[in-house]
Amino acid sequence: MEHILSLLVFFPAMAGLLGFLVAKESIRAYGISVSAIEFFLSIILWIGYDSTNAGYQFVEYYPFISSYGMSYYLGVDGISLFLVILSTFITMIALIALSIEKEIKNLIISVLFLEMTMVGVFVILDVIWFYAFWELSLVPMLYIIGAWGSVNRMYAAIKFFLYTFAGSVLMLVGILYMGFLYHEATGIWSFALPDWYLLQVPFETQLWLFGAFFLAFAIKVPMFPFHTWLPYAHGQAPTIGSIILAAVLLKMGSYGFVRFSLPLFPDASVYFLIPVAVICIIMVIYAAMIAYAQKDMKQVIAYSSISHMGIVVLGTFAMNAEGITGSIFLMLSHGIVSGALFMLVGVIYDRRHTKLMSDFGGLASVMPNFATIYGIMLMASVGLPLSIGFVGEFLSLVGFYRISWVMTLLAGTGIILGAVYMLVLYKKSFFGEVVHAENKTLKDLNAKELTALIPLVALVAILGIYPKPVLSVIDMSVQKMLVLMDQKAVLQETKELLFKANTIGGTN
């Protein structure tokens, strides 16, 4: 168990390297086995995780370039644990559902490398390494979109790469400056996040640093107005790319807020709370409206991701355990639900080679199983209670209500607008008569697709009915982080807001 995190990070990449030696015929089975082993490793991690300990566990620390304070430093806590499991799980499911034949070997190796960077981002505690994984994650995705995408794939891939890359450059400056600050204060260099957590940063500096990190995270999430790469990327990416992008890569941004922005710069986070919340509300409403206007099924889900990520970030900035725990849970649930929805769109695209809703209609009578699973995911997406989607959304909104009820009301319109675009999509595609002759002979889900989708359906129900094992682990680490924020805050107002946000009573 000592090196389980290193194993989790590098096993997929090593297996990916070995994959070059595997014969083309057996590469799919190889990829699925590797991702399944990786998934079981992450489950072992959860089993071994001590849920009474809010701090970092399975810590591995080796000096790397000690003269500059760089180290190889791994650890997992309640905030990252389930994001790791989400990454390994979604990779496995996406590989099971994979239907691409062309150059499949390279694709699977790319996915395995991508898995390394995803797990790496979530468990690494050294910020330089974090930056490396963060940027490395772009490469396999660039390749996946650029090589296996649709017609306009080059534009989309390059846009995705350059946009997110440009955003991260400022973060690098921020990281270096933060390291410099640490050196100023203590006389030693360190890029270890737990060390940085102990550093109180002056308010003015916090504002600048918050901004530098914010841009990188905001582009990744993606937050309005930095979101336009996402529709292109989803529009052109192959199904597996969209699934991983929506389910995991976007969560890196929102994870960044929880892991970096809030605990490192508590005063700046509180200072920028309202502007960030305004952006979130714009995301929720604006993206939902655009989703409604789409004609392409995949674009609806792409924009709905933006809308949901608005709630995620809003919950994070609620500054209380309810909201932050909720927003992390919402990251998980959105990962599962949007992953499933993209997979479902892939299923129908494989059969019809179109994603336009006007080309469908009446699918419910031709493909009842497909329609049922789509319906379940749709209901999870609109946040129906007892489905996974409700828990995180409810907690995020509950949390933010403490900050501002008007803003919560505005963000809450997401539950209405979400129902609008999703139900309209469902009506256009699944209800009505079968008008197109091609649709009359469509085959329902096959065994491979069911194997991939049924675990997702099961999770939607299980974590909707009994989310507590997950929530309690997240909650403990979140509460620890809130204490840290309170200790580190330099301004009295910040402490007051944190106190108010976490106390019952005195509302009006």
Binding site: W229, A419, E433, L471, Q479
Partner: protein, 618 residues
């Protein structure tokens, strides 16, 4: 007793899941029978609990934890007290009958199995709604019934109108749900818990503005489910669903969930009489408003739907004015006679091959006597004629309005009573009596299967006798709900009852008189009033013109203009600028030595200026 509680709650779930296994297969009779049996078991368990609560008092169980984060703890907890047990009994009783009825009604439907799965899922959601011991648990049921309503309204999904109506219902309810959620959030941050008992216990410590805000938010939620103005349009459109669904969901149970919420939060609304009065006023308005639309409609099911809307208004008047037990009583009696009315209408529809226009019926009494009698009984009960059930419950509501000094509300309800009697008998007359219009369309109506009629008999019986349970009922539920004393002098009270009975009877008499003589002249249909009413006050049209279309236009604008033309173009412009700068400055690298020397001089001058102007740390 816990076992009975779990049986009552989970038997419908078991039914739904079991039947769902066969959902995709062609009709299998046993799915309907198994579902009906399991719902009946739930009903029996509910009756056992009723007796138990009567003897030993309420039952409260906590099944397991659900959500916990920060200070927030939400369990799956259930409470069977005087109010919830009444709801459970009403819901399961009507549900059992509707399930049995549906075996006959859905006989020829190819999705027979799927129907029973949905119907049982609805019963389960409704049981969660009424049995939950906290607001979020209630919200599970609240959304669950919304989902089932969506599935069942859109059951015949190949019809555009059905799936449209299903979406309309879901979305309208979601609008209201947001209000309700806001109320829940406010409750949480004021009390720190969603449990009913903790919330009610801390009511005294909260100031009245806070209470009023909570009360209003919760009522917005109630307005959606109970289809109160202006969120009422979905209910009439929901008649696209199969008729048993209309009877169960859109008459007897789900739509009364809003009333249940207000009754459940009676302790809250008692403290904020102004909000209560606003609820009552809205209720009285809807009572009259909906009844007026029922006057001219020719659609068999829509008339009954408007009538439901109107009766919900009555219930809200009682609940708003603090007479919670009376509201609950009317809720119960209404569930019996209104579901009977709908199920009877289902028989008529089957006989008429799904024809809904009552102008094309007439004279059906000859071929379907049993249905005609049952529907007449239900109509008399609805009109509020002694000794039928509606008389006891509805008359009480009028007395409450009078007792509170809300004479205006009383008058509205009084007129409403007359209208109710008129439209009910207009329907009965046009469907069962008069000229046999259907012969022109070559239809040969036939009575429903005997077991369907037998299934309706209990409802018929209850529509007649349940009014006499008034005092038992009052004694039982007022253990939990506030007492309500009516202080009207005996003489005045008798006069009021006589007046109400009088207007109801004259409504009936007028309807019978007019439609015996062939109804109103055709020319009336040209009048403004008629058009206004038959177009539902043009409200659906207004919604389409001023909400749906602008929303679509704005959405398209946001996508095609703002997102692609402004936001994305800016990004591309920046990228292009970088690219073109590189492209242009490439010319500097001409490879010509003198060019390079010139650029070197430019660079040196630039650096010198910089060194001169910018001097840090001096």
């Amino acid at each position: 007793m816990e076992n009975y509680l779990y049986t009552a709650l989970f038997a419908p779930l078991a039914s739904s899941l079991f039947v769902a296994l066969f959902a995709a297969r062609p009709k299998m009779l046993f799915t309907g029978i198994v579902a009906s049996l399991l719902i009946a078991i739930s009903m029996i368990a509910s009756f056992v609990l009723l007796i138990d609560v009567n003897t030993y008092g309420p039952l409260h169980v906590s099944m397991m934890d659900w959500i916990s984060a920060g200070n927030l703890e939400i369990p799956f907890g259930f409470v069977v007290d005087e109010v919830s047990v009444i709801m459970m009994v009403t819901v399961t009783l009507v549900s059992t009958i509707v399930h049995i009825y549906s075996i006959g009604y859905m006989d020829h439907d190819k999705s027979f199995n799927r129907f029973f799965s949905y119907l049982s899922a609805f019963v389960f959601s409704m049981m969660i709604l009424v049995m939950s011991d906290n607001f979020v648990g209630l919200f599970i049921g609240w959304e669950g019934v919304g989902l089932c309503s969506w599935l069942l309204i859109g059951f015949w999904y190949h019809k555009h109108s059905a799936s449209w109506a299903a979406n309309e219902a879901f979305i309208m309810n979601r609008i209201a749900d947001l209000g309700m959620l806001m109320g829940l959030f406010l409750i949480y941050w004021s009390v720190g818990s969603f449990q009913y008992d903790e919330f009610f216990a801390s009511l005294k410590t909260m100031d009245s503005t806070l209470l009023a805000t909570i009360g209003l938010f919760l009522f917005i939620g109630a307005m959606g489910k109970s289809a109160q103005f202006p969120l009422h349009t979905w209910l009439a459109d929901a008649m696209e669903g199969p008729t048993p669904v209309s009877a169960l969901i859109h008459a007897a149970t789900m739509v009364t969930a809003g009333v249940y919420l207000v009754i459940r939060c009676g302790e809250l609304y008692t403290l904020i009489p102004d909000v209560g009065f606003a609820i009552a006023s809205l209720g009285a308005f809807v009572a009259l408003f909906a009844a007026s639309m029922a006057l001219v409609n020719n659609d068999l099911k829509r008339i009954i739907a408007y009538s439901t809307l109107s009766q919900l208004g009555y219930m809200f008047v009682a609940a708003g004015l603090g007479a919670y037990w009376i509201a609950l009583f009317h809720l119960m009696t209404h569930a019996f006679f209104k579901s009977l009315l709908f199920l009877g209408a289902g028989n008529v529809m089957h006989a008429m091959h799904d024809e809904l226009n009552i102008k094309k019926m007439g004279g059906l009494y000859g071929s379907m006597k049993a249905t005609a009698i049952l529907m007449s009984v239900a109509s008399v009960a609805l009109a509020g004629i002694y000794p039928f059930a509606g008389f006891f419950s509805k008359d009480k509501i009028l007395e409450v309005a009078f007792n509170e000094g809300a004479y205006f509300l009383w008058f509205a309800l009084f007129i409403g009573a007359g209208l109710t009697a008129f439209y009910s008998f207009r329907l009965v007359m046009l469907v069962f009596f008069g000229e046999k219009e259907y012969e022109k369309y070559g239809i040969h109506p036939h009575e429903a299967q005997p077991f369907v009629i037998y299934a309706l008999l209990p409802l018929g019986l209850l529509a007649i006798v349940s009014g006499f349970l008034e005092h038992t009922f009052e004694g039982f539920v007022t253990r939990l709900l506030a007492q309500y004393e009516i202080h009207i002098e005996h003489g005045t009270e008798a006069l009021l009852i006589a007046a109400t009975l009088g207007i109801a009877l004259s409504g009936i008499a007028f309807a019978v008189y007019m439609y015996r003589r062939g109804g109103f002249p055709k020319s009336w249909e040209e009048r403004f009033c008629y058009k206004l009413l038959s177009n539902q006050y043009y409200i659906p049209k207004l919604y389409e013109l001023y909400i749906m279309r602008p929303f679509s236009a704005l959405a398209n604008f946001a996508w095609q203009k703002i997102d692609t033309k402004v936001v994305d173009l800016t990004v591309d412009l920046i990228a292009k600028m970088v690219y073109s700068t590189g492209e242009k400055s490439r010319k500097m690298q001409s490879g010509n030595l003198s060019d390079m020397l010139r650029w070197m001089v430019v660079g040196m001058i630039g650096l010198l200026i910089l060194a001169f102007v910018y001097r840090p740390m001096v």
